[in-house]
């Protein structure tokens, strides 16, 4: 069952003095299924944050429909079981961590003593229980990200939407966020997160949507997306000769085993054909699939977009 559906969504904006529309999103359609981790990837400026704002009812689409938990996201009921962490932790920095979570718990309708219990639980969970009385303006970026995650998870939401949750974090912070996302999935929650850090996406996402210049360039599981996208072959040979094989690039050599990279199918056939005696034998051939990053770069190039993501005026 889909917890989030976008159907033909388009969004434009106008600059103050401009009569022209600049299309940020064009004909965007996809769904996020219950219980999955959905990674929304794309270059900076591709429209990821705009999509998330539309999904949360912070912006309104020019065209198309959005359903969050089966409802129009501009209705508060649609957001009742949703937790959200914004791209940059813009919070009321005059509040302490404790006050901040207490305020957000009130917005979710928690009453005392449950509210305090829940707030303390979350502070403990994100490791900020010792800094709870410190004003948010004194928090580091990583601490703000953690308190932001705590407010997103206060009401134990069914759907968690995270906008660039790993951006600006150190490796430990990124690992913590990754572990948290996986833990949410284990507990049956749906996680929809945007990112341009693709290595994390490949390891934790069930499905991925790739946004390029405001259009959905690819959608599916990581395996589906890179299937058929064989960029080269890795060939292991038994090769007793001290000289390198005539075809391919040697990646490693140990005793009589050589690991080679062959860049085309024709080269692979020629290499296999050249193995005639002298102890040379084919041991293994494995296709080296493209990574998501390579796929994204390819899509960006195909779309003629620059890597930093440029929007242009025109039709949706």
């Amino acid at each position: 069952m889909a917890v989030l559906t976008l159907d033909g969504v388009a969004k434009s904006y106008r600059t103050h003095l401009s009569l022209h529309k600049y299309w940020i999103l064009r004909d965007l359609s996809f769904e996020v299924r219950e219980g999955e981790i959905f990674g929304f990837i794309g270059t900076n400026g591709a429209g990821k944050t705009t999509t998330i704002k539309l999904v949360l009812g912070l912006l309104f689409p020019d065209k198309g429909t959005i359903r969050l938990c089966g409802k129009d996201p501009s209705r508060p009921e649609a957001r009742r079981r949703v937790g959200f962490l914004p791209e940059n932790p813009y919070f009321h920095d005059y509040l302490t961590g404790l006050e901040f979570l207490d305020f957000h718990a009130r917005l979710h309708g928690f009453r005392q003593p449950e509210r305090r219990k829940r707030v303390l639980e979350l502070l403990e969970r994100v490791g900020l229980h010792n800094r709870a009385d410190r004003a948010l303006r004194l928090y580091s970026k990583g601490m703000l990200q953690r308190i932001g995650l705590a407010q997103a998870l206060l009401h134990d939401p069914d759907v968690v939407i995270l906008d660039e949750p790993m951006s600006g974090l150190d490796p430990i912070g990124r690992r913590d966020v990754r572990d948290l996302i996986l833990e949410l999935k284990r507990r049956g929650r749906t996680v929809f997160f945007s990112t341009h850090i693709l290595s994390d996406t490949e390891t934790i996402c069930d499905r991925v949507g790739m946004l390029v210049r405001g259009r959905l360039a690819a959608l599916g599981s990581v395996e589906e997306l890179v299937r058929g996208e064989v960029g080269s072959w890795e060939v292991t040979l038994a090769w007793p000769s001290p000289q390198d094989p005539p075809i391919g690039q040697v990646l490693s050599r140990r005793e009589d085993r050589v690991l080679l990279r062959v860049s085309s199918q024709a080269d692979l056939h020629r290499l296999v054909g050249s193995l005639n005696g002298g102890g040379a034998k084919l041991v293994a051939v494995s296709p080296a699939r493209r990574s998501l990053e390579e796929l994204l770069l390819k899509e960006v190039r195909c779309a003629g977009a620059q890597a930093d993501g440029v929007v242009e005026e025109g039709r949706p």
């Binding site: 704002k53 912070l58 009130r106 917005l107 309708g109 407010q151």
Partner: protein, 255 residues
């Protein structure tokens, strides 16, 4: 009041009391009220009137400044700082957000006015010139602050703080000079100009019902219906302005 409006109101109040501008205004106001005593020494024979007049005028001025300076950024600052994203992503109606912000500032003004009034009353008691009519005048001033806050919130939903400040202060000034549209109407010949004067007089906020400073200073009794009229006007006009603010915010895009 729903729990969510109350939560936003309390948070707005907390933000205000941690804002140095509020304390600066309050210190100046209290200092000026106490200065009324010194000022009265410079005049001959009307010491009591000077103290009352100066004290009420100070409460009026600093109450309006607080309402305007805090009100103009009430909504727009949340958008500018992007703190609004996490709030509106919660299951709250946008109208609840606007009303919560308004209620928070009303609470701030209540505390602010109470402190200024306390200083004023202490001075009056010390001089032996305290009378209940002074409190009635302050109550009507407080009603005026509530109306101005509603106007500031409306502009805050529509524009940036600078434009909101100019427009709110402009309406405050014209709100006390609406009677001049009668004079203007009598002097212009063109029917359209007369119609415009009449329309402006009807549409712009009328702040005269909230101003009884002159009456109480000169010992003229304030009729009870004046208080009733001011209250009804506040509820209807202020309610309409807040309704417009909620409607404007409802379709506002959080860029």
């Amino acid at each position: 009041m729903s729990g969510r409006i109350l939560a936003i109101a309390l948070n707005t109040f907390r933000e205000a009391i941690r804002n140095r501008i509020l304390y600066l205004l309050l210190v100046f106001a209290v200092a000026l009220i106490l200065c009324a005593q010194a000022l009265s020494l410079l005049t001959v024979g009307s010491e009591e009137k000077i103290i009352k007049d100066f004290g009420l005028a100070t409460i009026d001025l600093f109450g309006v400044l607080t309402a305007v300076l805090l009100g103009i950024g009430l909504v727009s600052r949340e958008i500018e700082r992007r703190t609004v994203y996490v709030l509106l992503a919660k299951p709250i109606h946008r109208a609840e957000f606007v009303l919560g912000k308004y209620a928070g500032l009303v609470l701030t003004l209540l505390v602010n006015t109470a402190i200024m009034t306390l200083c004023f009353v202490l001075l009056l008691v010390a001089k032996g010139i305290a009378e209940p009519a002074m409190l009635l005048a302050v109550l009507l001033l407080f009603f005026q602050f509530l109306l101005i806050t509603a106007i500031a919130v409306l502009f805050s939903c529509l524009s940036n703080p600078i434009v909101s400040c100019i427009l709110t202060l402009a309406l405050y000034v014209t709100g006390h000079l609406l009677w001049s549209f009668d004079l203007l109407r009598a002097r212009v010949a063109a029917p359209w100009a007369r119609a415009l004067c009449l329309t402006l007089q009807r549409v712009l906020p009328d702040l005269a019902p909230f101003d009884v400073k002159g009456m109480v200073v000169h010992g003229i009794p304030v009729p009870p219906e004046r208080l009733g009229y001011a209250l009804v006007y506040l509820v209807l006009y202020g309610g309409a302005v807040l309704g417009l603010a909620c409607a404007a915010f409802q379709r506002k895009e959080m860029q």
